[in-house]
């Protein structure tokens, strides 16, 4: 098992390396001069030259790459052009918001998707199955921003049940310790604020979770149907086991594998979807930050956040692979 983990870890190294080269190339080989962008269109040439020197853009390309990698390995992701704060600091403040949102979306998607998939698989071709299929089709066909805006209009503007934007009522002042709103409100001992934060979380989580919900439902349905036709399931029924036991012990145990894999694969999609969801719901997280950075041409923020996103995605994939190997002994020994 350990050997497998080490092997998978090592295989992620060249990917990260390649990624750093691509992102580096993006900044340095494509048209557009960061120095000129920072100073604006009408800056004097000598100022631009001085800025290029300060940013190290006058060095040979290979040396720039070495410097960049060196900084990266020391955890220095550069500074924002806009507010001159270290990118990593800002990232760490905003990332908890994105985690909170993606975890909530995942709970919604898996919590609803797995039972829906099991329900649909129990009676294939029935009306219930057809409804579940249509819902999952809508899930992958309705873009997050359309669903998000519709939810905002329905539940915030018309029904006034839930807040449309933000992570918490701006009138509530909560000390930011962990930057996880749900945790910080509890740490402050404010139950009212916790409930308010939770209410703010519901609509964005549903919007973000819709695609994974559709995919998880589909995969669970397919996996359960697949296993339900196996010989050992028929044998279990034939020897007189109660349906509940056949379902739990014989079917679900084996159907979990593809479901767990697809759960892990959704994380990348959730991170990407967070960019749009956070923009729709004015949710302060990494996604909204990236969009704002693009609008402001804040190169290092964009470059570093994409790198961090990819890094997290690779780590999650690694965890999924290891989890998969843990669940499926056949993988481990191959």
């Amino acid at each position: 098992m350990l050997q497998y983990i080490v092997r998978r870890l090592l295989s992620a190294v060249p990917v990260m390396f390649g990624l750093s080269i691509i992102l580096f190339a993006f900044i340095h080989l494509l048209p557009g001069d960061p120095a000129a962008t920072i100073l604006g269109q009408h800056a004097r040439p000598e100022l631009v030259a001085a800025m290029r020197q300060r940013l190290g853009l006058d060095l040979p390309l290979w040396q720039q790459y070495v410097n960049y990698m060196g900084d990266l390995l020391r955890g220095d992701l550069g500074r924002s052009f806009v507010n001159n704060r270290p990118v990593l600091d800002d990232f760490l403040i905003r990332f908890p918001g994105t985690i909170e949102l993606t975890v909530a979306a995942m709970i919604y998607a898996a919590g609803l998707g797995i039972p829906l998939g099991r329900f649909a698989a129990r009676r294939p071709q029935s009306t219930g199955d057809a409804i579940v299929t249509v819902v999952s089709l809508l899930g992958i066909s309705v873009p997050i921003f359309v669903l998000g805006l519709t939810l905002q209009y329905g539940f915030s503007v018309q029904l006034r049940w839930l807040p449309a934007t933000g992570r918490i009522d701006p009138r509530l002042t909560i000390e930011q310790v962990t930057h996880f709103m749900l945790i910080d409100t509890l740490l402050a001992g404010r139950v009212d604020a916790f409930i308010d934060a939770l209410r703010h979380l519901i609509l964005p989580a549903i919007a973000l979770g819709s695609i994974p919900l559709a995919i998880i439902t589909r995969i669970t349905r397919a996996a359960v149907l697949d296993v339900a036709n196996e010989d050992y399931v028929r044998t279990a029924r034939a020897k007189g086991l109660r349906e509940q036991r056949v379902d739990g012990r014989h079917i679900m145990r084996n159907a979990w594998l593809p479901v767990v894999t697809v759960l892990g694969l959704q994380v990348g999609g959730l991170l990407a979807g967070a960019v749009i969801t956070e923009t729709v719901f004015a949710w302060s997280g990494v996604g909204k930050w990236v969009v704002e950075a693009i609008e402001a041409h804040d190169y290092f923020v964009v470059q570093s956040s994409i790198l961090m996103f990819a890094f997290i995605f690779l780590i999650v994939n690694l965890i999924v692979d290891v989890g998969y190997a843990f669940l499926n002994p056949r993988i481990r020994y191959s």
Binding site: V15, I22, L30, V142, V146, Q152, A164, A272, A310
Partner: protein, 299 residues
């Protein structure tokens, strides 16, 4: 000489019959697939609207001041008016052109790039495969829309940039799929047979392996059209759409509607429904094609 010709002819005949058989078979299965038919109807509506936009649109999409800003739907303006008093329905109709055009071009470009990479990787194997697949891993490690955002952010706003961005998010997926099918086909019996009668590796790849690997790629490309339409609108929604703000593009139109959610909810629904119909169409057709092109999935 005569024997060679005779020797080749039956082989060609069999090949042609076999490939025609697959498609005819798939088509007849597709015609019985109700969801796929519904998908094709959605796509037909989408394509017809896009092509006939100048005829179908009741008003000039860029002519403002047709009535009060944010006027709700009426008999004159079925989908209402936007902030500048432009006819929302006409804008949605013209927007179909952009979505269809950008979707098709970006998926085609993605197919070309991904197809070449996948064919080289799966066809040649060895170190070529290792290098190319590591590159694909790198591309796939960046979440799709984020990669597209990055590309548009750096190349600047514009339709060609958007197409390239969406193409690049799709290309690694196509490469991976084609490589996978080619690898599986390498061990197929008909490939072994072809090799044993002395066919060269180029001929085997082009005549025997690629045509059989194409089915998976066609399915993926159809499904990718759905994602492309959504991604293009997503870029527009994030403010990275066509640089001319007057352009009728579904995602950009939705961004404008967010400002007036309270006053003019009709501005979400018209472009929203347009995106959903086209995405549903390509998703259903893709699923239908997958089921009908793969005889093993026959119910």
């Amino acid at each position: 000489m005569a024997t060679t010709v005779q020797g080749v002819r039956p082989g060609v005949a069999i090949e042609e019959r076999a490939s025609r058989g697959l498609w005819r078979d798939a088509l007849s299965r597709l015609r019985r697939n109700k969801p796929a038919i519904f998908g094709m109807i959605c796509i037909t509506i989408f394509v017809t609207v896009a092509i006939l936009a100048p005829v179908l649109a009741p008003y000039d999409p860029n002519k403002g001041g047709l009535g009060p800003s944010f006027a709700p739907p009426s008999s004159e303006h079925l989908a209402g008016l936007d902030k500048l008093g432009r006819d929302e329905l006409s804008r949605v109709v013209w927007g179909a052109r952009i979505s269809l055009f950008v979707g098709i071009v970006s998926v085609t470009v993605g197919l070309c790039i991904g197809g070449i990479v996948g064919a080289l990787s799966g066809g040649i194997g060895g170190w070529v495969d290792t290098v190319l697949m590591r590159a694909v891993d790198v591309m796939l490690s960046i979440p799709g829309i984020l990669l597209a955002i990055g590309i548009v952010a750096w190349l600047g706003q514009g339709l060609p940039q958007i197409m390239l961005a969406v193409a690049f998010t799709n290309a690694p997926i196509f490469a991976r799929i084609l490589r996978g099918s080619l690898l599986a086909l390498r061990e197929a019996e008909f490939v072994t047979v072809s090799r044993s009668i002395g066919s060269g590796s180029g001929r085997i790849l082009l005549r025997h392996m690629l045509p059989n690997a194409l089915t998976a790629l066609i399915v993926a490309a159809t499904l990718a059209l759905a994602t492309a339409v959504i991604d293009v609108a997503g870029l527009g929604f994030l403010g990275l759409g066509p640089p001319d703000p007057r352009t009728a593009e579904w995602g950009t139109m939705l961004t404008d509607s967010t400002e007036a959610l309270r006053r003019a909810p009709h501005l979400i629904f018209a472009p929203g429904i347009a995106i959903i119909i086209s995405a549903i169409g390509f998703n259903l057709l893709g699923d239908g094609l997958r089921e009908s092109l793969d005889p093993r999935l026959k119910r």
